[in-house]
Symmetry: C3
Subunit: 139 residues, 3 copies
């Protein structure tokens, strides 16, 4: 049995943004030496997501507008979390819709993704260094 | 250590629908020969979900109406993704609420599900052949 | 290869509530003897969630109000699931937003969590005994 651990670091310059991390996750899969197994990719921060969807700019903009409608950033005083001095309560909500993590199968030494599946880091409270974790186990 | 991979194919005749795939996932668990492990089940398409909930027709209808309220299909021009010629932007949104995947424990050679837990394939852009992936690892 | 299974039981006295289960999951990780692996934690009931977020009381109240706005409990007659005699259709919806499960990496014999990541059991139809499952595999 083999295991592999790797961190990916981000500093998204805006409050919100989506980063396609599929190449880095594929590289981690190769580095792991795992032929058959599972690859967990999760945000290590609670105002960010890792999710799988389409790398199409129109859709990523749709996500941005839709999440803002479901969990608006402003007025920040609508959230009790922001009474602590934070202004990111909406980011904690948005991340629950998009999810913390994905688990991807590893088959024949490669990520076992469907034809359009791309792995994204979703940032909802950026402008600082944050990270995601890749953990692969298998044989 | 053992691993097992299997695809499930679907062609849901309507745009949206829910298919209980628990029997097929249970069969894959038996076919794997895994006694103790983890079973990942994920949609391989980005307009579909795999999720666990109740096989009760009233509830499945409630999901349909609720998702349509949170991410309406029409008017299709409200989504920039549909500028590409697609009409399925809402399906990409609905799938994020319901999720891409579930991981189910395997214990004593069986899926370790609670009494009411059923595994579903959720289709949000059907009328064509699509698939889900089952990957089981363990010993 | 090693595996470990454990159940956590809850009886949340109100209809809805959040319980920080990080200490119990950490203890299960130690009990497993797994150094490198994956730890699945999932609700075994379909009206409850396991999720990772911040243990901050203001935020937990924000989740409560936000989920109630997205999937209101009352009027219960708005949901066809409640025609069965249940009054918990909203709990099945809320649980989909917060998620069924999390998978946490195990590294060096410890849960590999980011600095603010805490594991929660989210109850949406409480006042009875319910449980979550911990399953750890690795080496």
């Amino acid at each position: 049995m083999k295991s592999h651990r790797q961190e990916l670091w981000f500093e998204v310059p805006q409050r919100r943004g989506f980063v396609n991390i599929t190449p880095q996750v594929e590289q981690a899969g190769r580095d792991s030496g795992v032929g058959e197994g599972l690859c967990l990719v999760n945000a290590m921060h609670i105002t960010a997501s890792v999710f799988v969807n389409d790398d199409e700019q129109g859709l990523l903009g749709d996500y941005e507008r839709w999440l803002e409608a479901l969990a608006p950033h402003a007025p920040i005083a609508q959230y009790r979390h922001n009474d602590t001095g934070e202004d990111n309560a909406d980011a904690h909500l948005k991340r629950q819709i998009m999810g913390r993590e994905v688990t991807v199968a590893v088959t024949g030494g490669k990520l076992d993704l469907g034809p359009w599946e791309q792995v994204f880091y979703g940032e909802f409270d950026g402008r600082r260094r944050k990270r995601a974790l890749i953990k692969i186990i298998g044989h």
